[in-house]
Amino acid sequence: MFKRVLIANRGEIAVRIAQTLQQMGIKTVAVYSDADRRALHVQVADEAYPLPGNTSAETYLRYDKIIALAEEHGVDAIHPGYGFLSENEDFATACADARITFIGPSPDVIRDMGDKIIAKEKFVAAGVPVVPGWSGDVTIGIDALKKEAAKIGYPVLIKAAAGGGGKGMRVVPKESDLASSIEAAQREANAAFGDGCVFMEKYITRPRHVEFQIFGDSHGNVVHLFERECSIQRRHQKIIEESPSPALSPELRTKMGEAAVRAAKAIGYTNAGTVEFMVDADGHFYFLEVNTRLQVEHPVTEMITHHDLVRAQLIVAAGGKLPFTQDDLRQQGHALECRIYAEDASRGFLPSIGTLEHYVPPAGPNIRVDSGVSEGSQVTVFYDPMLSKLIVWGRNRDEAIARMDWALARYVVMGVTSNIEFLRTVLNHAEFRAGRLHTQFLDEHKITAPIAAIPDEALIAAALAGRNGVASSRSAATHDRGEASVGPWQSANAWRAF
């Protein structure tokens, strides 16, 4: 097994990977940008080295610098987490050149699966159903493109060939929107992935997003660890995930799992990956794409299988056999994940930046919080505004939902605006409780941030806290150096004037 592993990432996933590494007796090496100097992922590592600069392009995407640090500090292997360099074929190749193990699939697999058009062809060859669509050179001109779109039938979906996460995606309801949508998608794809290549496919109305966790080793073993339903999305960004999917019969689960494994075997897949499918109202499923990395929502799978996927990644990357066979794996109970974002649902989900003046994640049996921040952390403009993931387990879906709602109601985030109240609105929607999920759920049910009337108790708390000097700001107490700190209540003249 490796002795020293560098985590080429930040935030909650860097913290979570460090936990497994350290519990396996492996030293963890972190890297950090200037903006992340006080970040949690630095504090939990055994060693940490700076990547000067603030933007991703200057820091976490600079694989030349990361590999140089790894070589300088005797690192055996690099875990890329998700995002950043995790699906970068060049990085995986550069690691191999430096004789450092990249914890993930081979560069070839990353390249092929990173190109959605090639990925689709490979899956078609393995007999996996795919969504009808068109791909080719978009410079054929708008008239030719309109013809292709008409063949597929509106609504049509424009997608970036590289990358994922909703960037470079546009739904086109009618022909007149086609040109502007392709242009916008290309611009976004270019900005996000440095590759403006896009393609079109049939837009399936009210599909469910159901993905299968797959895992392969270098001995030819490939298994799946069941599905995750990730239909609750906002602008193609997943926000609530669960397993089992309320939509899958045991037969459909077996069929889809077998299809995922068959395709993964056909392409010689190793390490952790995810095969994403759309499932329509009639239970037909269509291959979407493969993510060649650990997925944000992997804890859902960990909670229903009781296996640590990061640990399995390390074993497989070190040349070992998968620590589980398909027959070992059981889907026990029900797991739910909510992604906690610093964003303001009442202002169009604009990211909210600032200092986490109060940050108290919930805790209790069968509650897991994978957090990238702690009280006093800064949320900056430079990176993704996800603060944490709240994952719960229950014996069944109802119990899991009740536990999640309980936990969200006790999750204190102040200083930045969070999506916690929005998540609770979704979770308590009758259609969500009934399990009738699809990717347009939030739009169709017009779910927005609730506007709560201010209860008397909040006014009483505000009045009495001011009167008693209870209220104070963390930043005032913490970050004033050299001079005596004065609580904000004392300086509120109006407050004390009465």
């Binding site: 930046i353 109060h358 102040m414 008397d456 909040a458 009483i460 505000a462 806290a465 104070s472």
Partner: protein, 178 residues
């Protein structure tokens, strides 16, 4: 007796909260009058900006934060925003923003990608004026109402602060050519 006046953030009428200490012992107990409602409440501090209220047996942990002149109160899973109104103060509260907008501001820090506005050009409500990128997401800033561009104060590729004025609007009846 002490009276405080709060205004809910955004819309809403000011609310008067009158508090009267009822107990001189260790515990902080109060008689509260809130419009026509009365309640007996206890408060206890459990940390900086943290405590609990006890009203009619119900225990309500809260967190409170004063930031940018605004009070945020977290209570039972919800965060409420309040302004404290200083009835004795000379200066105005500064919260009376102009009813009609005179400009388009950056809602958060980010990079300007594209500008669909030229000085003097007319625009309709909801017309996309500026495309920005922030936190790796693209967003379109649309016109709040019909109007005419007075001045463009940003250029593509520019990194702008939150609140930066990107485009100013001509006042009614004034402005450049049609």
């Amino acid at each position: 007796m002490m009276k405080l006046h709060f205004k809910p953030h955004g819309d809403g009428e000011p609310i008067e909260v009158a508090i009267q200490k009822t107990d001189t012992k260790d515990h902080d107990c109060y008689q509260i009058t809130l419009a026509d409602r009365q309640a007996h409440a206890e408060i206890e501090s459990t940390g900086p900006g943290a405590g609990w209220l006890r009203v009619q047996g119900r225990v309500l942990p809260f967190r409170i934060l004063k930031k940018d002149g605004m009070l945020s109160v977290w209570l039972a899973g919800k965060t409420h925003k309040l302004e404290l109104i200083d009835r004795t103060a000379r200066r105005s509260t500064g919260s009376t923003a102009a009813a009609k907008q005179s400009h388009l501001q950056a809602p958060m820090p980010g990079t300007v990608l594209k500008i669909n506005a030229t000085p003097g050009a007319a625009f309709e409500a909801h017309a996309p004026l500026v495309v920005m990128e922030s936190m790796k997401m693209e967003m379109t800033l649309s016109a709040p109402h019909n109007g005419r561009v007075k001045d463009v104060r940003c250029k593509p590729g520019q990194l702008v602060e939150m609140g930066a004025v990107l485009v100013t609007f001509a006042e009614d009846g004034h402005g450049g050519a049609a």
